[in-house]
């Protein structure tokens, strides 16, 4: 079972963790990506996330489906934020449950690694003295 959602409001770690938990699975791994207060020594004021929403959701669903083909996933939730975020805010949550823990670790790491490569979501870092689209340039 797969739960994919884009939110423009706070993400809920507890919801994702409980949603994937099931007595059939012994291992739940949750990744929570938060906004750091600095990048390369520069103080981050805020981040602005935008998404090509339709395709962001379908690409996140593909990741979940591909992970479920590779590992014996019972449930997987991928929740991502859009809009303005401040240091400490949660940008993404990926929660995975599997019968044994190794698969949950591998599937969760695969999902966040792939999300950062394929899902059409963009973030702009705003510093005190400028701003930059993250990863835009080599």
């Amino acid at each position: 079972m797969i739960d994919i959602q884009l939110f423009d409001t706070d993400l809920d770690t507890q919801y994702c963790t409980e949603w994937v938990s099931t007595p059939e699975a012994g291992g739940v791994v949750v990744f929570v990506g938060t906004v750091r207060n600095s990048t390369s020594e520069k103080k981050v004021v805020r981040l602005e996330f935008e998404a090509y929403e339709k395709m962001a959701v379908s690409e996140m669903r593909k990741i979940a489906e591909q992970a479920a083909e590779r590992w014996p996933i019972r449930k997987i939730a991928i929740h991502h934020r859009t809009g303005v975020l401040y240091p400490g805010d949660i940008a993404v949550i990926i929660a995975v449950s599997t019968p044994h823990r190794k698969a949950a670790f591998e599937a969760c790491a695969y999902a966040i690694d792939t999300l950062k490569e394929t899902v059409p979501i963009w973030k702009k870092e705003i510093f005190e003295d400028g701003e930059v689209w993250v990863a835009a340039h080599p």
Binding site: F49, Y52, K54, M55, L115, K116, T118, V119, P120, A135
Partner: protein, 80 residues
């Protein structure tokens, strides 16, 4: 024919609009569209990557365009 193109992130900054019309030949490929876009907006050549999605999916450079396609410029993604 004219196709309507959506631009997100830094692509929107480069084009100066989130949606714009662009003239292409009938059955032009995505690869040819990308070359045209770089000609009009040289800053696209400076990006770490530069992909096109058609109707919600990544497509290869060989993919032929149609007039009613939803065409989106995908600059380097940075979710998570």
């Amino acid at each position: 024919m004219n196709i309507s193109i959506l631009a997100f992130g830094i692509a929107r900054d480069i084009v100066g609009a989130s949606e714009f019309d662009f003239a292409v030949e009938e059955s032009q490929t995505v690869g040819e569209l990308k070359q045209e876009l770089v000609r009009h907006y040289p800053d696209f050549a400076k990006l770490a990557s530069f992909a096109i999605a058609v109707n919600g999916n990544y497509v290869s450079d060989e993919h032929p365009l149609q007039g009613d396609d939803e065409v989106v410029i995908i600059p380097p993604v940075s979710g998570g």
